[in-house]
Symmetry: C2
Subunit: 404 residues, 2 copies
């Protein structure tokens, strides 16, 4: 299937045919940085969505869910602001989210339920609606098939740069594109953290297959990364399919589609980890020997979120005991006499016995910035891979100063 | 019952009659700091123990469990080293832990199964047994009823100071003492983290009541604190009752005993949080309105471990949205329309509506170093209190440099 897939350098959310994007400075952020993005489909697109699992749902999440229910899973536009999450904002928040959707529907010329809304930024503060009101028509004027990069910039908060990815898939000799953008740098964890992802495709995909493909791709990408174990009230990944390529995805070609979608989502997700708040290293955590896939994922997440693991990696400290210790408290099956730890290709602990003489070589390996660590639980044959970053003093600085 | 209890300033693990302690420098730590502690009971004492829930158990934990089983819950001595955890050390580790116990049994003159062993420090490195062998007789020579402070110093790793507490209880007009010491500064969480606690009493307490009292007290003290959510392979709290005061605890006086024990354990536990690695503030996290006590505790722990909460508090940022957001992802019942957040006595979010106008007052409050934050889940009437500290750049520095 490799030949059926190739990535598109420089591609993004407006790469697929049938979509235009825009990103402008509406004045929501005090510093004047871009803060309003608009994505418009030429005709109503089929939508699949994955939302945060947080029980406190922000107003835009509540509204987007409601709209997709009312529209039968179709959307013409997504309006996104950064700088204010419109979360924990009570009745005012819902009113403001509705107003954002209504204004967007007016300029686009579509039913209001075909507009989805997303917000990211500070929680508990109301949106500056005067800025939003003047911003939406301005964003509409700026729409273009070449404005994906501008949209990717407008959804950023503490991100160090825009995050875009795209790929082409070949089905029956014809080509379709999949492209997207995302934001997120901290408060990232499982099941949708303060992370927004928007992916488009010009393939035509029936709703059931689109939903299944998004869940599969997100499980192996956005839900397999963690920066700090926190997850937010606002997160969502929205996937829109225009069908403009004329390529139809069915059960036979589903594998090709989901492979392309996973590639794009994983590239976006890894960009989040690489750009994690204060991050200096990308860390691939592989857990093997688990009793089940769920236990493998659970242990991998505990290791990936351990402050002691993350700080040791930051310091280049081959403190492999912290890895097995984190696995030991994950609440999963572990056979201490068969467990093992690897740093890169170095086996520092195997069958319950230490090989600390390899610690100097591991310290040398840890000077790199793209690292792999592994824990064998010795309890079965299931495995899972997640990605995380190191924890630096810079993370603390960023998050201690965010609002004030 | 208040009159039946008073704390003893300067008291510790050798305050109760029938116990002597010692702490010396055996050379296990390269920097020459004290690293070997010994606690000896004049006669075999009744023991209650709580161990780490980590599935990777260090050799000294495995050995102490084995010895208590063999001795029928009696012990004459506890030998403790810092600087090396003797964890993930395979067969060598078990051999070394046994040798520590045997040497101690020889100098004390008791059956080997009446010796308990504890170790704390780096994981995966073998104990320098030559230092341990010469250290144990030296520690025995240094034993004294006034050497509690020396013992408390010898069990420290990254602790900024020794941690001791003691109290007197009055039962039937007679007095008994309870005193203890502990160590722990990071890798602290629930269910016994890299935390060692040793508590003695001169009350006579039947084994069943002693076990029950320790579990109750630990639940409201050591298991209600968190520094970084990590828990180690070595943790234990050991409680020894000598009966030397002649005061017998029975069902009728159990309440007084457990109150005294909880007071001592809580003072020790709070000393760990206050001295948490890089900590500058003690934070009391109170969750109310939970559907059950277990859910209240679960939510309180998620809030107390949230990096975003801990960094916001470090920066004095009244970012109350992070509190409710953490509660929202705790996997417990939460009614968004009835939930609330307090910082000190300031109500920043109530019944789903924000009161962000109080943020400046909350920022002022957060300049203090003994803080209370509260989240009402709006889903029931159960509550739980846990204690944590802020997360500073210093924590990262300490843990990135620990070994190297």
């Amino acid at each position: 299937m490799g030949a059926a897939l190739s990535t598109i350098t420089g591609g993004g959310v407006a790469t697929a045919r049938g979509f235009r994007a825009a990103g402008i400075s509406a004045g929501i952020k005090a510093n004047g940085n871009p803060d309003l993005a608009l994505l418009v489909a030429d005709a109503a697109a089929q939508v699949a969505a994955v939302y945060t699992t947080n029980k406190m749902l922000a107003a835009p999440v509540l509204l987007s869910k409601e709209h997709l229910n009312r529209s039968g899973g179709l959307a013409r536009a997504i309006v996104v602001n950064s700088g204010c999450a419109n979360s924990c904002t009570g009745d005012t928040g819902m009113r403001d989210a509705r107003a954002m959707a209504e204004l967007t529907a007016q300029v686009v010329g579509c039913p209001v339920e075909q507009v989805l809304v997303a917000s990211t930024g500070v929680i508990g503060v109301a949106l500056p609606m005067d800025k939003v009101r003047s911003g939406i028509p301005a964003a509409y004027e700026a729409l273009g098939a070449d404005q994906g990069p501008a949209a990717a910039r407008a959804i950023m908060t503490t991100d160090i740069g825009p995050k875009e990815a795209a790929a082409t898939i070949s089905i029956g000799g014809r080509h379709a594109s999949i492209g997207g953008m995302c934001k997120g740098a901290g408060m990232i964890e499982p099941m949708m953290a303060t992370m927004l992802g928007f992916v488009t495709t010009d393939a035509a995909v029936p709703k059931a297959l689109l939903d299944r493909a998004l869940r599969e791709a997100v499980d192996q990408s956005f839900n397999a990364i963690t920066v700090d174990g926190d997850s937010s009230t606002n997160d969502c990944v929205l996937l829109l399919a225009s069908g403009a390529s004329g390529v139809a995805v069915d059960e036979a070609s589903y594998g090709t589609f989901v492979e392309g979608l996973t590639t794009v989502c994983r590239e976006l997700a890894l960009a989040i980890v690489r750009g994690g708040e204060g991050a200096t290293k990308l860390v691939t955590v592989q857990v093997t020997g688990a009793a089940s896939s769920a236990e493998a994922r659970k242990a991998a997440k505990v290791i990936a979120n351990s402050l002691l693991v993350k700080t040791a990696i930051h310091g280049g400290d081959p403190n492999w005991g912290r890895l097995i210790c984190a696995a030991g408290r994950a609440g999963v099956a572990l056979d201490a006499s068969r467990a093992g730890v690897t740093i890169g290709s170095l086996v520092l602990f195997k069958d319950g016995q230490p090989h600390d003489e390899l610690a100097p070589a591991a310290a040398e390996y840890l000077k790199g910035d793209d690292l792999s660590i592994g824990v064998d639980l010795g309890a079965g044959s299931a495995s899972s891979t997640v990605w995380t970053c190191d924890l630096s003093a810079e993370y603390v600085r960023i998050n201690a100063d965010y609002r004030t």
